[in-house]
């Protein structure tokens, strides 16, 4: 007989794992054993709840109490108070901000209220290492129905087409069309492949990782259905080796699916065969590009090749291949189970459904959010994200990582969808959303993303290999204070050359951060070039520290802390900074008790 009356759900995504959630699980188990309640309370590991900044997160059901930043020493209290006596431990409950009341239901928070979880529907709901739990939330009903009714593949493809689902990897191509092309493609020996792009490489992006860590089965089921729809019997998931938890959960999930006969030969006695294999990438950014990814799966060096031929006609091992992103697959069974009409009712005219974003940078609620398409950036930053911390002013948001652009504050009411973002010079990208406040220098940001692209350029084509490097040289010239106004024109021209002539999306989109900052923050560039000044006080070469003689008491604290001995002066007399020696580390300023050191 089942006597389980309460479930303690502990997040074991990468974020909460790094704040020690696995040890919480064993602590809960020990404490329950001590209370003699191991038979009535179950401790369940689960996926990401989204509030990564507040981890580790523990949810206790049936009350649905959400405890945040739970420490090991809090465990006995939760067990003895909440589990034994039924009294919720209010001091550990999630609070929206410091002064606010504790919330007992996460659904009521601003963070969740504006969200809609489709791709993340099972994250934080099921145990990602249990196929039984996935089946318990109606997992595998779509595959069962399709195989037992022998649904014609064209019917499935039409359903995906009509839903309006577009690729969640960034470019936003119609998923249904991609399935159609691969279905229509002729293969000489009948072999086709299904592949999943889990090579999430944008700095600050962790949507795909979270989906795979929280709900690997939905991706596996969707790939199996895709195999049935396009006529493939083998699938590959290309995932980066830097995601050890996601890799492990995928391995467990594939193993369980094979045990249940939901992968392998003759699935559910239907005669349909489909198998899945993992391929680990070594973390090269370019391998997220589809042709490079497939070259890498084949065992070669991950380099892109020109398209056409497109993967739908000539992909893996020169066979027709369907390649979709993790989040795209995570939407498939929801659409098949709920109907395309319901999916198409969400979002804007040309962008349907929802999009997952990894919120990062200068934002209070760092974490994972899923919003209906068309939600404004303002809602994401202020309502869901809680604004910039420490009362700083929002300056810009970067979407799409190194391929995307910066959205300035003046465009904060832009609805987030594929076409609106492209129209303002950014792009949807895979879903990284980095928030910047007044302390960020936009030239420095452009430089940061460009440095990333220089490092990650595979070097196969000249425009990308040399162009990104030259672009970086020009930007460095500006942040060093040696730039001229002509350089700005050269930068812009070089950007367009790169866009037009690079072989793959890496080089074609590398100039986006430069172009968009140049468009919306030209005044900052001009300040660097003409006034030799960095308005945000970030670019070190343009900074100067000075001691205000009137305020200096001659305490010598700055001189003693200066790592390069650039400060001189006598005790109780004003001190001076030797700007030749100064390395602009800022230690003197942070140590001065009289506010006598200024930066300009």
């Amino acid at each position: 007989m089942n006597h389980i009356r309460s479930h303690i759900m502990v997040c074991t995504g990468t974020g909460c794992t790094s704040s020690d959630s696995p040890r919480l699980i064993s602590a809960f188990e020990e404490e329950l054993l001590r209370a003699g309640m191991e038979q009535e309370v179950r401790v369940v590991k689960t996926g990401c709840f989204g509030l990564c900044a507040m981890g580790p997160i523990v949810m206790v059901f049936p009350e649905g109490a959400c405890y945040t930043q739970v420490k090991l020493e809090d465990v006995p209290e939760i067990v003895s108070e909440h589990i034994v006596k039924g009294r919720i431990v209010t001091r550990l409950l999630h609070k929206e901000d410091a002064g606010a009341d504790a919330v007992t239901s996460l659904a009521e928070t601003n963070f969740y209220k504006n969200q809609m979880r489709i791709a993340l529907r099972n994250c934080g709901v099921i145990n990602p290492e249990s196929i039984d739990e996935y089946i318990g939330v109606d997992g595998y009903t779509a595959l069962e129905r399709i195989l037992t009714e022998q649904t014609p593949p064209q019917e499935i493809i039409d359903c995906i087409k009509k839903s309006g689902l577009r690729g969640r990897g960034g470019a936003g191509f119609s998923t249904g069309m991609k399935w159609q092309f691969t279905y229509d493609a002729k293969s000489d020996d009948g072999v086709k492949f299904v592949a999943c792009n889990a090579d999430e490489g944008d700095p600050g992006a962790f949507m795909d990782r979270s989906v795979l860590e929280g709900d690997p089965f939905s991706v596996i089921e969707a790939m199996t259905i895709a195999g049935y729809a396009i006529g493939a019997h083998q699938g590959y998931i290309y995932i980066r080796a830097e995601y050890p938890i996601a890799v492990k959960r995928l391995e467990i999930a594939i193993g369980q699916a094979k045990d249940y006969g939901l992968l392998g030969k003759d699935i559910l006695g239907s005669g349909f065969d489909f198998d899945l294999e993992l391929r680990l990438g070594a973390g090269a950014f370019v391998c997220g590009e589809e042709t490079a990814l497939m070259t890498s799966i084949e065992g070669h060096r991950g380099e892109p090749r020109p398209r056409p031929p497109f993967p739908a006609n000539k992909g893996l091992f020169a066979k027709p291949t369907l390649l979709n992103n993790v989040e795209t697959y995570a939407n498939i069974t929801w659409i098949l189970n709920n109907g395309w009409e319901k999916f198409a009712a969400i979002g804007t005219e040309k962008s349907k459904g929802t999009k997952v974003f990894a919120l990062g940078g200068k934002i209070t609620n760092t974490g994972l959010v899923e919003i209906p398409m068309g939600t404004t950036l303002r809602t994401i930053v202020y309502d869901i994200g809680g604004g910039c911390p420490n009362g700083k002013k929002f300056k810009a948001a970067q979407t799409g990582g190194p391929s995307g652009g910066c959205i300035p504050e003046s465009l904060i009411d832009t609805p987030i969808d594929y076409d609106s973002l492209t129209a303002i010079g950014s792009m949807m990208g895979s879903g990284g959303l980095i928030v910047m406040d007044e302390d960020n220098c936009m030239v420095d940001i452009a430089k940061f993303f460009l440095e990333f692209c220089v490092d990650e350029s595979c070097g196969k084509c000249t425009p990308c290999r040399i162009g990104t490097k030259r672009l970086l040289d020009l930007l460095t010239k500006i942040t060093d204070g040696n730039g001229t106004l002509e350089d700005l024109d050269t930068i812009e021209e070089l950007c367009y050359h790169l866009k037009d002539s690079s072989l793959c999306a890496l080089g074609q989109s590398a100039p986006n951060p430069v172009l968009s900052t140049l468009k919306y923050f030209k005044d900052e560039y001009i300040a660097h070039v003409v006034e030799k000044r960095c308005p945000a006080g970030v670019c070190k070469k343009l900074l100067k520290y000075e001691i205000v003689a009137d305020k200096c008491k001659g305490c010598t604290l700055c001189a003693r802390n200066c790592p390069v001995g650039a400060i001189s002066g006598v005790v109780k007399g004003p001190h001076f900074i030797d700007t030749e020696k100064c390395i602009k580390c800022g230690l003197c300023q942070s140590n001065c008790r009289f506010g006598a050191i200024v930066k300009h």
């Binding site: 009356r5 009535e40 039924g86 009294r87 089946i135």
Partner: protein, 122 residues
């Protein structure tokens, strides 16, 4: 290798087990007093009986949990039933054999078992 029927059985079983994670407003809550006084008077078999009975009938939207001392130690074991939108009902001096009647009449058919309530005992 599982057959369709086996998958269906797993789905049904897991749905019941995971029911505990739906905390919508319509959930009927049964709270059993499990402080020292309650446990000494035999509250644990009473709670187990509630869990068994709810499971046996496959009731949805019912949660069974425990609490500390409700304050009438002389009437333990005590259980309180909270039906959303109605006043709470307190059952006292419970024995496991009284539980099926409460589950059937109160939780399923929404008729309070007045014989077992605190009003009847006083």
């Amino acid at each position: 290798m599982k057959s369709l029927e086996e998958l269906k059985a797993i789905r049904e079983k897991m749905k019941r087990q995971m029911e505990v994670r739906d905390n919508d407003e319509n959930t009927i809550r049964v709270v059993v007093g499990m402080a020292t006084c309650g446990i000494a008077a035999g509250a644990r078999p009473v709670m187990t009986a509630f869990l068994d009975e709810v499971e046996r009938r496959g009731l949805k939207n019912v949660s069974v949990s425990q609490t500390g001392c409700i304050g009438v130690c002389r009437l333990e074991p005590v259980a309180e039933v909270f039906v959303p939108g109605q006043e709470k009902v307190t059952y006292v001096k419970l024995r496991p054999d009284m539980v099926p009647a409460i589950v059937e009449q109160h939780l399923v058919n929404h008729n309070v078992v007045t014989d077992y309530t605190i009003g009847a005992a006083e």
